[in-house]
Structure formats: structure tokens, C-alpha cells
């Protein structure tokens, strides 16, 4: 399996706090890699570090075999990384269509993929004139996911896509993620283990800013003791 993304012994600080303390992981091409862990374990900081929003102080971040650590965020994203943050990052004053247009990196990106994107998220076509702020939480999540599909991204980083959503919306987001899975490599942060188990191929358990356990999702899911110890939840 080819590693599309690789972190080697990454250390990241937020102010004086040492958040990532030697984070190492890889996301393989065409797979959904899941980061699991309690609140404050360093999962979101890992995604922000990859994207350069919270740059690492030490260690290597490689995308497709090339180092991206230290590059400005826009340059990292421009190399083919899409990001769906925990708060979805939808521009609430922009229409749905404008939220998609702004994601274009080349002329006509959206036009060329409109069928694919609106096929995955049919509601968005109907809602295209509405402002992002007028959408429900689930619709905003669909928009955030659709937005990373507009340019030719190689990897998408998704931070807790089901957080704060009603169960029926979680199912919708799950279905969308299943559809995405066939099209793109995903690094997913998820606290909902049921969601993670349903979609992940490989799993890293993160605690205190480093990986404490990793393996295929099936193996991790079968180890209830491990799940209880690090996530405090059963399958």
C-alpha cells in the first residue's frame, strides 16, 4: 500500500503548550484512515498541523513523498489537500453556490464536476441560492464535504463530521462519506466509534499527542478493552 500522507515524529505547540509530542502516522492511498481519541488528545491539532494552520516545530510531514512542513497553508492546500473543519467552515454570508465556487482552483472546476457533486449531494442543487447561514447543520456538513470535491484534491482531512448532528443526519453524513470513500483518500477524525467503525479501513488511537495504538479497523473494533481504555465507549 502506498502512503499518500506520512507524519514522522511531529511536534506541535500551541503557545507554550506541547500538543503533538512525536506524532507519527500514515494515510494510504484510497483508504479511510481514522484518528480516534478522547477530547484534547491532539486529533484536531494533527489535521491543522498537516495543513500548516498550526505549523509543526519539529518532525516531517510528507505528501506524496514530498515534504510540506513549513509551507504556507494555501500552498499545502494547493498540493491537493481538502479540509472540512469541525465547525464545517461554511461561509454563512455566501450562497451555497458561492461556497462551491470559491473552492475552485482552476477555471471551470465546479462546472466539470457538478454532476458528480450534485449526484452525491442532491439537496445542494435545490439550495444553491440560499446562504450558508440559512442551512441546517446537516446541510452545512454536506456543503462542507461537497466543497472539498470541487478541486482535484488527493486527500481530504475531515474533523468530526457527525458532531452535534441528530441521528438521522448522522446517517446522511455516513452515507455521503461512504460514497466519498470510493473517490478519494480520507483522514478522518471521529469521536463517534460507530461511525468510525462503519467507514474506516485503518485506525490510529491518539492519546496525549501521540499514537498509542494502530491497526486495521477490524482488529481495533474487536478489542473492546482497548476501546474502553482510550475512548471510554463500547462498539
Amino acid at each position: 500500500m502506498t502512503a499518500l500522507l506520512e507524519l514522522r515524529d511531529v511536534h506541535t505547540y500551541i503557545g507554550q503548550f506541547h500538543i503533538l509530542q512525536g506524532m507519527s502516522l500514515r494515510a494510504d492511498q484510497g483508504q479511510v484512515t481514522v484518528l480516534l481519541g478522547r477530547n484534547g488528545a491532539g486529533k484536531t491539532t494533527t489535521l491543522r498541523t498537516i495543513l500548516g494552520l498550526t505549523p509543526p516545530r519539529a518532525g516531517q510531514v510528507m505528501l506524496g513523498g514530498q515534504s510540506i512542513a513549513g509551507l504556507p497553508t494555501h500552498a499545502i492546500a494547493g498540493r491537493g489537500i481538502g479540509y472540512v473543519p469541525e465547525d464545517r467552515g461554511v461561509f454563512t454570508d455566501l450562497t451555497v453556490e458561492e461556497n462551491l465556487v470559491i473552492s475552485e482552483r482552476g477555471q471551470g472546476d465546479l462546472a466539470g464536476k457538478a454532476d458528480f457533486i450534485f449526484g452525491l449531494f442532491p439537496d445542494l442543487k435545490r439550495l444553491s441560492r440560499l446562504k450558508g447561514g440559512q442551512l441546517s447543520g446537516g446541510q452545512q456538513q454536506m456543503l462542507a464535504l461537497a466543497r472539498v470535491l470541487v478541486p482535484d484534491n488527493r486527500l481530504i482531512l475531515i474533523d468530526e463530521p457527525t458532531k452535534g448532528l441528530a441521528p438521522i443526519l448522522v446517517e446522511q453524513v455516513m452515507a455521503a462519506l461512504h460514497n466519498l470513500k470510493s473517490a478519494i483518500t480520507v483522514l478522518l477524525v471521529e469521536q463517534n466509534f460507530t461511525v468510525a467503525r462503519g467507514i474506516g479501513d485503518h485506525c490510529y488511537i491518539v492519546d496525549a499527542g501521540q499514537v498509542v495504538h494502530s491497526g486495521p479497523m477490524k482488529e481495533i473494533a474487536a478489542d473492546e478493552g482497548l476501546i474502553q481504555r482510550y475512548l471510554g465507549a463500547g462498539g
Partner: protein
């Protein structure tokens, strides 16, 4: 109050409001997008007025070189552009060129300031405030050194020099020109923000510039463009204001204060907010100046700003800011 007085106040208020819009629009976008409180904006407004005045008179052959600093004047005189020879005889054409020159110098100055001084200080906002405050003084002193301490009058071009009677009062054409100019520039800026990709990026950046970067957009480059355009609008406004308020090293200060009030009332980063705020401030100022005194008018405006800050801190049209840069 008589009908004539009401009409007079409205015209005066609209005229002031449009000038405030030209300076507040850039101020609002620069703060909304970049979190930069640009205290040098008023000085750029003033520079626009001086540049326009210089270009207008020099192209007319009146006193070519008299307004230019010593190293420039002799050089240009050698090129054959000397006093007494009108390069552009038509005052209307000269005036248009002067306005554009004022605006363009503002664009260049804005780009230079952002690139050389603001950019290294994005992570140190307090330093930015000190820098732009200092810059305002530097520009003001520079202007005094180049053009001297005395105020100038920029004459109105022939087409706008007359007045027209409105409800038994003579109103200069120039006031109507300023109102129309403000409306046109509002439409242009609004269309730029609503109809172009750059506009979408700016509006998104005002809300969450971090997310804009995460989409692969070089926000810093957009910052430079916005700072330059904002400075250009202010300088253009200064050029347009010159025949209305006169040209002096202090002209930017009072306009800047009013523009800050406009931006607070209208909401940071909102062009419709800047337009509505400008009209409110212009009309309130004209009314208070007529009924009370200009000083009391300013005090009332500052009080109004305080009230808005207490009741609706984001301003009438301001959006909530999410991710910084």
C-alpha cells in the same frame, strides 16, 4: 424648520455622506478582512487631494513645478513641461485626469505600505496600530515639506462650476456631482464584491480568512489588493473632496474620525453598512451643524458610535468574524 432648510440639510448631508463612504469603504474592508485598523487612511485621503491639485494645475500650465519637490521640478522642467504652457487646456479633462491620478497614487501607496510595512506585522496587531498612526504623521509631514503649510483651493472644473436653484436656494453642481460619484462608486464596489471571484474571496475572508487559506487561496495576496484598492478609494475621495473642502495637511484627520464612526455604525467589512453608515453620519452631521454647531455635531456622532458599540457591537450590517489569519 423651513422646506428650504430641510432640502439644504439633505443635500449637504448626502454630499458629506458620499465623501465619507469613499474613505469608509476601504477602511471597513481593510479592517474586516485583515484586522488592520489603518490610522493612515485619512492621510492617504489627503495625499490624493494634493496629488490631484498638483496634476490639475500643472497640466493647466499655471505653476508647473511649483508644487513639486526640488529634485523633481527641475527634471520635469528640462523635459519641456514648463509653467505657462497648458498641456491640457480643457479644465474638465484636466479634472478627470487629476481625480484618476489621485486615485492611482493612492493604489500605489496602499500597495507599498501593505507590502513593506503591514505584512511583517500581521501577527503583532498593536504594532500595526502604532505603525499606521506613525505613518499618518510621516505622510502629513512629507506633504508639508513638499507642498508647504498653506492650504490650497482646487478650483471646480468648468462643467461643475455653476449652481442651480433648488427650493429657493442656490446649490453648487459640484455637490450633485459628489453625490452621483458616491452612488456610482458604491455600485462599482458592491458589484465587485458580489459579482466577481475576487469579491467572493474578500467576503469569505472577512468572515473566516483561515478557511479561505485552507481552500488553497493566497489570502496575503488578496490583503495587498484590498489594502491598495481601499487606499485608492480614499485617495480618489480626497481628490474629489478637494474642491469642496479645500486642501490642507489636516484635511484627512476630521474625515478619518467620521469614517471610523461610519465603519463602527455600519459594521466592519460591510460595504452596504459603510454606505448606510455614511449617509446616517453625513445627514446627522449636516442636521446637527445647522441646528447646533459643527463641534456639537461631532460630539453627537461620537456619542452615537458609543451607543451602537454598546447595543450592537458588530454594527448594523457587520458579520461575525470566525477564523483569523
Amino acid at each position: 424648520m423651513s422646506l428650504e432648510a430641510i432640502v439644504s440639510i439633505i443635500i449637504q448631508g448626502l454630499t458629506l455622506g458620499m465623501l465619507y463612504f469613499l474613505i469608509a469603504a476601504g477602511l471597513s474592508l481593510i479592517f474586516g478582512l485583515m484586522d488592520v485598523l489603518n490610522f493612515a487612511h485619512g492621510a492617504i485621503f489627503m495625499v490624493g487631494a494634493y496629488v490631484a491639485t498638483t496634476v490639475y494645475y500643472d497640466l493647466g500650465g499655471g505653476q508647473f513645478g511649483a508644487y513639486l519637490p526640488p529634485p523633481l521640478a527641475p527634471t520635469l522642467l528640462k523635459l519641456g513641461l514648463k509653467g505657462g504652457v497648458a498641456l491640457v487646456a480643457d479644465s474638465n479633462v484636466r479634472f478627470v485626469i487629476a481625480l484618476l491620478a489621485g486615485g492611482l497614487v493612492g493604489v500605489g501607496l496602499g500597495a507599498l505600505i501593505e507590502w513593506s510595512m503591514i505584512r511583517p506585522l500581521y501577527k503583532r496587531p498593536i504594532f500595526q496600530i502604532l505603525l499606521t498612526l506613525g505613518l499618518a504623521y510621516v505622510l502629513s509631514e512629507l506633504v508639508r515639506n513638499i507642498w508647504g503649510f498653506n492650504p490650497y483651493n482646487l478650483e471646480k472644473p468648468a462643467a461643475l462650476a455653476q449652481s442651480v436653484e433648488v427650493v429657493e436656494r442656490m446649490v453648487p453642481y459640484y455637490k450633485f456631482f459628489l453625490i452621483a460619484l458616491g452612488c456610482v462608486l458604491f455600485i462599482v464596489v458592491y458589484a465587485l464584491l458580489q459579482r466577481t471571484r475576487l469579491g467572493i474571496i474578500i467576503r469569505a475572508g472577512v468572515q473566516n480568512s483561515e478557511m479561505v487559506q485552507a481552500l488553497g487561496i493566497n489570502v496575503r495576496r488578496v490583503f495587498t489588493v484590498v489594502f491598495a484598492l481601499g487606499a485608492g478609494l480614499a485617495a480618489f475621495g480626497g481628490a474629489a473632496a478637494a474642491p469642496f473642502v479645500g486642501v490642507s495637511p489636516l484635511m484627512g484627520m476630521s474625515f478619518q474620525l467620521s469614517a471610523f464612526i461610519v465603519v463602527v455604525i455600519g459594521g466592519m467589512g460591510s460595504i452596504p453598512g459603510a454606505a448606510v453608515g455614511s449617509l446616517l453620519v453625513g445627514l446627522a452631521q449636516a442636521f446637527a451643524a445647522y441646528r447646533l454647531s459643527p463641534l456639537v455635531a461631532n460630539a453627537i456622532l461620537v456619542g452615537l458610535m458609543g451607543l451602537v458599540l454598546l447595543i450592537k457591537p458588530a454594527g448594523l450590517f457587520g458579520a461575525k468574524k470566525e477564523g483569523g489569519h
